[in-house]
């Protein structure tokens, strides 16, 4: 076995192999914490959030966004299912205490029509008013061109909201 050229050796693992290994371990742990737990990559599947979130696009979720703050109207949130490997991405349209309805495609919150600049694919949804209880949020996708019955929308409990999304 021939010894590695010192220049290559230094380029590969620096002056001290031990120190390089420690740095690698620290980097691996940091990567796992940051991208595995706090800000995991998510791939969007489906058309319900078009055009804000394109089918197949990749984003970073923000799992710490709602640890100290509550979701607000207009936020895009990640909603966990049995766990956090597969989640819904939806927009918050109503917060606890709100009355949310759709009238001929217009979102009406607490009796007032709300302008939604993020809705490009609009439709003519009609939905009777839903009153949100404590800890309940109303969520829907931005793509309103699909029939209301075929769209996953409705009330979600606060504990189901696993974080936000960076776009």
């Amino acid at each position: 076995m021939t010894a590695l050229d010192p220049r290559w050796s230094r380029w590969l693992w620096g002056r001290s192999l031990r120190r390089t290994l420690i740095r690698l371990v620290v980097l691996a742990i940091l990567t796992w914490v940051v991208f595995g737990r706090l800000f995991p990559f998510v791939r969007i599947e489906g058309l319900s959030m078009e055009p804000s979130l394109r089918n197949g696009s990749i984003h970073l979720a923000n799992r710490i966004e709602y640890r100290s703050a509550e979701p607000q109207r207009g936020d895009i949130v990640m909603i966990r299912m049995a766990g956090t490997r597969v989640m819904y991405a939806k927009r918050v349209l109503g917060v606890p205490g709100d009355r949310v309805a759709f009238e001929h495609g217009t979102l009406v919150v607490n009796g007032t029509p709300v302008s939604e600049p993020y809705v490009v694919l609009d439709g003519a949804w009609n939905m009777p008013a839903v009153t949100l209880g404590p800890g309940e949020y109303f969520v829907a996708g931005d793509n309103r061109s699909m029939p209301l019955d075929a769209h996953t929308l409705g009330t979600v409990r606060r504990d189901r909201i696993a974080g936000g999304l960076w776009r």
């Binding site: 909603i79 299912m81 049995a82 766990g83 490997r85 969520v139 409705g154 009330t155 979600v156």
Partner: protein, 168 residues
């Protein structure tokens, strides 16, 4: 030499005993049946009638004799293994290929080791010709010991997002 051999045998026996004591065999059996279900429901190519019937029976054999199936919600609830086998045969026959993946499983086995509840997210993709449809559901599966095996006694969908008018 003989002492070393005896020591190795003793160590192996202790290791085997530890494995036997520490491994949750009920959990392992349930997870194995779940992976089997995932694999049996999936199909890569069109099947012959005989193969499809056999597969439907194999899938149904993972359920108790009188299961309580409330999924998919648009189908009538099923409470008979034979009936379930027929529905599986029909359902799988409607697609050329089916792919099912299970994620985020949480299993709780009761203290009596007779029943268990498993929550999971299932992602299914079915294709027929050029059409492809994907559905993601959160499911709750009840498991019971029947004839010495862990079998699915109930299945229902859970909705994280309650559609208006769904009775929340």
């Amino acid at each position: 030499m003989r002492k070393t051999l005896v020591a190795i045998i003793c160590l192996a026996a202790v290791a085997a005993a530890l494995v036997f004591l520490l491994v949750d065999w009920d959990r392992r059996a349930i997870m194995k049946n779940l992976r089997q279900l995932e694999s049996l429901v999936s199909k890569d190519t069109s099947e012959t009638t005989f193969a499809a019937l056999t597969r439907a029976r194999e899938i149904a054999s993972l359920f108790t004799r009188r299961p309580e199936i409330r999924f998919p919600p648009y189908l009538p609830s099923v409470s008979d293994r034979q009936e379930l086998s027929g529905l599986i045969y029909q359902g799988r026959g409607m697609a050329d290929t089916i792919s099912v993946r299970i994620h985020d499983t949480t299993l709780e086995v009761d203290s009596g080791r007779r029943e268990a509840v498993l929550q999971m997210t299932a992602r299914g993709t079915a294709a027929r010709g050029n059409l492809e449809d994907t559905d993601v559901r959160e499911l709750e599966l009840g498991w019971k010991r029947e004839d010495g095996k862990w079998l699915i006694s109930r299945m229902r969908a859970i909705s994280a997002i309650q559609h208006p008018g769904s009775g929340m």
